[in-house]
Assembly symmetry: C2
């Protein structure tokens, strides 16, 4: 019981191999010149003992941390794991490691998580969205490492931003709806203060519709979990409450899919008199009875680019450190053809 804790230290490896701590350190980090012989001895000793280096001490001494903080509202909404997959893909080729924190769409929790993560002095921060508390923005501005706000570019980034414009994505959907002659549009979203991206989509949609002389006829927001069931409920309610609706826009593919299933069961003319569209283009939904109109929000690419900014592979030439990705509108089979495409 002479040891303060149960972990092995460099010193143990040093003693076991008969090589100085310093040289052991060099071997274990592949730094500096070490003779193959010494190298072998050290590696053997480390392996035998089961030595696991103490990154805490290493980080303190070297002032270098190979962690990248990634902060997202939720892991249960697939868009975030998908963005994360993009981040991992890129970081896997480096010695950087993502560390994920979830905020439950709560700005206060975001602030806390951010503080917590920054106190580990990560080499970069990737954070979803552009809306943060003042304190969070201050921390991000002063943390001294690259900060990439992802999945949205509608606003002023603290440092850099990568993602689509949800406002413009909504606007585009609105344009497509109008171009196809739909007049009475209902928006079905989930009630979630923290979901700024959904709000921006709706605002863009509204603008496009009003520019084309129509507007949003009704809007419903339900709280709780997004899923098929919620989509069904909302759809049934909407169709009952408002007469003559001819288009339903769901802020999310999952509720959209539920609505689609409901409308098909009701025998409604989906893709004809009644149009439907969701958002996000979840590939797991490929294979619905009818392909739902949607928009690919390019979250994986956003994650990749954010990671590349941190690794330095991606740079900016201008003052404006934003990369706006272009969302792809996918009409699927739930909207009638554009009027100009129609045969007369």
């Amino acid at each position: 019981m002479t040891r303060r804790n149960q972990h092995l230290t460099l010193r143990d490896v040093s003693e076991a191999s008969g090589v100085s701590e310093m040289t052991v350190s060099r071997v274990l980090r592949n730094r500096g010149d070490v003779s193959p012989k010494t190298r072998e001895k050290v590696l053997e000793a480390a392996r035998m003992l089961g030595y696991v280096p103490n990154k805490i001490a290493g980080a303190l001494a070297s002032n270098r941390v190979n962690l990248v903080a990634v902060i997202v509202p939720s892991l249960s909404n697939l868009v975030f794991p998908e963005m994360l997959a993009g981040v991992s893909e890129v970081l896997d080729a480096t010695d950087l490691q993502p560390v994920v924190g979830a905020t439950n769409y709560d700005p206060a929790k975001e602030e806390k998580t951010l503080f917590e993560m920054l106190s580990w002095r990560p080499s970069g921060v990737i954070i979803a969205g552009l809306e943060h508390t003042d304190a969070s923005r201050a921390m991000l501005a002063n943390c001294g490492v690259p900060v990439i706000e992802v999945m949205d570019v509608d606003g002023d980034p603290v440092d850099a931003a990568v993602g689509i414009s949800h406002w413009r994505a909504g606007y585009q959907v609105g344009t497509e709806i109008a171009a196809r002659g739909y007049k009475r549009v209902c928006v079905l979203g989930t009630k979630m203060d923290g979901d700024h991206r959904a709000r921006k989509r709706i605002e863009g949609l509204e603008r496009a519709l009003s520019e084309s002389g129509t507007g949003i006829v009704d809007q419903m927001a339900y709280s709780g979990w997004s899923g098929f069931a919620k989509g069904r409920e909302m759809t049934a309610d909407a169709l009952k409450r408002v007469s003559d609706l001819d288009f339903l826009f769901y802020t999310n593919d999952l509720t959209g899919a539920g609505g689609l299933l409901y409308c098909l069961e009701q025998g409604l003319d989906v893709g004809g008199d009644l149009g439907l569209a969701g958002f996000n283009a979840f590939s797991l939904l490929d294979g619905l009875p009818r392909k739902l109109a949607t928009v690919d929000s390019r979250r994986r690419e956003a994650g990749q680019l954010a990671a590349r900014i941190i690794t330095g592979e991606q740079t900016f030439e201008t003052e404006d450190r934003r990369i706006e990705l272009v969302p792809t509108f996918l009409p699927g089979e739930t909207m009638r053809p554009r009027s100009t495409d129609q045969v007369t």
Copy 2:
């Protein structure tokens, strides 16, 4: 330019507040008695300066790290975020923080991730599954903190395990299938060496069926992404390749849902002559045209309990540090009633 890096230190706060570093440290950690006056001064100074403590130094000095390593195969398969949600729920009430790593179902990557995470000296490890490389097991056995293997109990845990028995879950489904008079069962899974839980479910199913005098007639495994489309394809193939199938077991609800949609479109007698079942009970799928038979794998509870073992709220009385959760079989509407329930 006298400072080595751009971060503020305790010393800066100490100087700004005219209080010793030690007392500043006490205030910032709420430890020991500090007069309200001093306390206020320190907090004010820290806030003004925007001080973010350096946990690296703190952890090194105190030999305490408030991180819990959570290692999962993937974040894109919803079962893992759901388990994680259970972990977070419990840890949120403490000062512990989950740190998530994904392995892509690759034992070598798992080993690497584990090594990386252990080198940060976390206060506990939660890791999915009981199958690991020898080196991983050795690291887990020697890391000196609680190790909880979650979402499976079919095997020998290094330290503790929480989850359902996938073998028994499969066995139960098999029993239900047999009890309902289905005779020609096909299993549709995804080809994934690392998915031991799916394998165990199939083995349990097979046993139950063979005990009831039948067996698995055919088995298909497709690689790639689980989703509706995959379920459709596999289902179409299976029904074409093998004649007289009367039951399809999907190792996963998503492919199951795709299969369900396909079968309904084909006008097959789903829930009657043709039975279907998935696995996991994803609530986002509530609202399919017909409720798919499935099994709740209780991953959220597994996460909660694992976290409670680490916090010390959950303890064991016996030698066997395993908690076996009981999966709930949900017959849904895609299996005919048990023969004994049938009206004659």
